[in-house]
């Protein structure tokens, strides 16, 4: 069996005296959709930030294709094939939709600074190429007609799709989605689930999904990890997780012993 693309081994992280993530292990990247659930403050987003290099793990290691990547800056990790969206939509407020998607191809740009300053033919050719690829992604997300809009003017659902298109433009091998359905109405929810399925099916991407809505997690994911206070308390298929007493305890609270 080949090694999975992304491996996390015994990763822990401290915020001051608080251990936010404890002995976390993960093997992902063989084409599945994996879920990561847990109550608020369980450390889910922290795990994403650790994998993508925004935080450095206090202990343990993160490996891509068997090579250690902790310590690398976020843009290096991203260009190695780990892309993500953010829980609270980190878009660039003065930029248009197409500019978002084009910029995510930054690490793929071959022309140099000189070409950018003097607008050489090679530069124009490559910019056209980038624009075309960005257009295809916008088509896939169904937001081609919004290409020249400034993102700040778009409705929430469209902004989510821009973020998704941008994340895909980096040509990732694994996509980390941090609550992609937060704040969406049922109609938008159905659309974004459809998009996640398409991304998974058409591009063959592995996806790691943080989500609060159980319906979404249960429908999309093949394996789910449950986190509580920074530690994995259960891992398994949706059915196993649903019936796991520790998961139910973590979500609903323990019945006090009487």
């Amino acid at each position: 069996m080949t090694t999975p693309f992304l491996q996390v081994r015994n990763m822990s992280h401290d915020f001051g005296g608080l251990r936010a993530v404890r002995d976390y292990n993960l093997e992902a990247g063989s084409g599945q959709i994996r879920g990561l659930i847990g109550p608020n403050g369980a450390g889910k987003t922290t795990i994403f930030n650790l994998i993508t290099g925004i935080y450095q793990p206090t202990e343990g290691e993160v490996l891509l294709d068997g090579k250690k990547i902790n310590g690398l800056p976020p843009h290096r990790i991203a260009s190695l094939g780990v892309s993500r969206t953010f829980q609270n939509l980190l878009l660039w407020r003065h930029m248009t939709v197409i500019e978002h998607v084009k910029l995510a191809r930054y690490s793929k740009i071959r022309y140099g600074l000189f070409a950018a300053f003097f607008g050489t033919p090679g530069h124009h050719r490559e910019e056209a190429e980038i624009e075309e690829k960005a257009g295809l992604l916008l088509d896939m997300m169904g937001i081609r007609h919004l290409a020249d809009q400034v993102v700040i003017n778009l409705p929430y659902g469209a902004q989510r799709r821009v973020e998704m298109a941008r994340a895909l433009a980096t040509e990732p091998r694994i996509l980390l989605l941090d609550e992609p359905t937060a704040g969406m109405n049922p109609e938008e929810l159905a659309q974004i689930m459809e998009i996640i399925r398409r991304v998974h099916g058409e591009l063959g991407l592995s996806i790691l999904l943080i989500e609060h809505r159980m319906r979404v997690v249960m429908e999309l994911c093949s394996i789910i990890q449950t986190l509580d206070f920074g530690a994995v308390i259960a891992e398994g298929t949706p059915e196993e997780i649903q019936n796991n007493p520790r998961v139910i305890d973590a979500y609903l609270g323990k019945e006090s012993a009487t």
């Binding site: 800056p73 976020p74 980190l90 003065h94 910029l103 690490s107 022309y111």
Partner: protein
């Protein structure tokens, strides 16, 4: 020109709407041709007309100086501006509406560069004719063009990248002093630098080399600011760059071989109008190319959200350093030109006051916008010259204006607008009589 935003179109009065309709079909080519006609008219008939209107000579800056000095001459000055500039421009643009559109369309059969050079040639001819009337005009024009370069290069840092840099006069000083030492040392008999080293004829060819090397030296200085301050975001850059400005200034004040605070003079007269114009065009063009490319858009991403930029593979530190060095380069080149326009530099020119001036031009004109920087630099510069007769009150009026702009347009007059050369030069095909 007719680039007003359409947001207030509903509220404009019928008269101004009528005017806008009249001129909405005029392409840039038509405007430039009309300006050329007006300027030629001034050459031919300006002096006699000025005499006839009771003015002693051609008003140098659109009559502002005359009006402020001698209020009795206001009608004459206004009439002069109307007769020489306003009416001919209005008439010519209307008359040449369809030929101008046709020529502009025809020029688009060739690469954009052809069309752009034709427009630039027209613009340069007009400026040359206008500036030829007096030495004062030509000096004001050259300084304005240099101000455009400095403002635009600072806009790359303060506008496009969203950091706050205070060291631009310092970069100018480096460029100015390097270019001056280069030219004075090699081409002029000077008590400090010795006799002429190279033949004069080489001068104009080596002058660009001096400017470019000055720019590179400024970039090198910028590296000293960039490396410590771009580790994180925040106020670090503002503080370190301000310190850098003072270091450069006191360094030059204490360097005896450039004559310290007494300043360096005797630069050869190589910064002619065509030279300054060419460098300005080159500067605007390369900065515009840069900020419109995907690499340049990374600056905006770093400004709007650095964490997201990093997660989208953008090397944020490299992006910031490159932009900072690039901006410093152009400030250095502008400084070199500045020294050769005035043919004298002293360190106190490049102090806090210069910084305030440049910052005012950037924020007045508009952040993140090439148009904005051009408008800001030109208007603040011309205003400064035009209001000169008011002496001390000038420094009340200009800041008041700045405050008003900050209240009503917090990001500047023309902010966040891309300069798309192709659409700017395009013919405005609109059937006549229709809106």
């Amino acid at each position: 020109m007719e680039r007003e935003s359409g947001t207030r179109a509903e509220r404009v009065r019928p008269v101004s709407r009528y005017f806008r309709m009249l001129f909405s079909g005029v392409p840039l080519l038509g405007w430039l041709a009309a300006i050329l006609v007006a300027v030629t008219l001034e050459r031919l008939a300006g002096a006699p007309l000025a005499l006839a209107l009771g003015l002693q000579k051609i008003p140098v800056l659109f009559g502002f100086v005359i009006m402020l000095k001698k209020p009795a001459l206001i009608p004459g000055a206004v009439l002069y501006v109307l007769l020489i500039y306003a009416v001919p421009v209005a008439v010519t643009t209307r008359l040449t509406l369809s030929p101008a559109n046709r020529i502009a369309a025809w020029l688009f059969r060739f690469p954009v560069a052809v069309s752009a050079s034709v427009h630039l040639a027209l613009l340069y001819t007009s400026l040359h004719l206008w500036a030829d009337v007096s030495d004062y005009r030509s000096l004001v024009l050259k300084l304005t063009l240099i101000a455009v370069m400095v403002t635009l290069s600072l806009n790359v840092i303060n506008g496009y990248m969203g950091e706050f840099s205070c060291s631009h006069p310092g970069f100018m000083a480096i460029g100015a002093y390097f270019a001056s030492v280069f030219t004075v040392g090699l081409f002029v008999n000077d008590q400090f630098f010795g006799a002429v080293f190279l033949p004069q004829a080489w001068g104009p060819f080596l002058f660009p080399v001096a400017l470019i090397l000055g720019g590179f030296l400024a970039s090198f200085g910028a590296l000293a600011v960039a490396i410590p301050s771009f580790r994180t975001r925040g106020d670090y850059l503002a503080i370190i760059s301000l310190a850098f400005l003072f270091i450069v200034k006191s360094l030059i004040e204490n360097l005896e071989f450039v004559r310290g605070p007494r300043g360096l003079s005797g630069q050869p007269d190589w910064a002619t109008l065509p030279t300054v114009f060419l460098w300005t065009v080159l500067c605007v063009w390369s900065i515009n190319n840069f900020v419109r490319s995907t690499i340049g858009k990374a600056l905006n991403a770093v400004r709007d959200n650095e964490m997201a930029a990093g997660a989208m593979t953008v090397d944020t530190r490299r992006t910031k350093i490159v932009a900072f060095l690039f901006a410093a380069f152009w400030a250095g080149v502008a400084g070199g030109l500045f020294a050769h326009v005035l043919r004298y530099v002293n360190p106190s020119t490049f102090g806090i006051q210069k910084l305030a001036e440049v910052l005012a031009m950037v924020y007045f004109g508009g952040l993140n916008s090439v148009y904005g920087s051009i408008v800001g630099a030109v208007s603040i510069n011309l205003l400064g010259e035009a209001l000169r007769p008011l002496e001390i009150f000038k420094w009340i009026i200009i800041p008041l204006l700045l405050i008003l702009v900050m209240i009503y347009r917090p990001t500047g007059l023309i902010a966040f607008k891309d300069l798309d050369v192709t659409s700017l030069l395009q013919p405005k095909r609109k059937p006549e009589g229709e809106e």
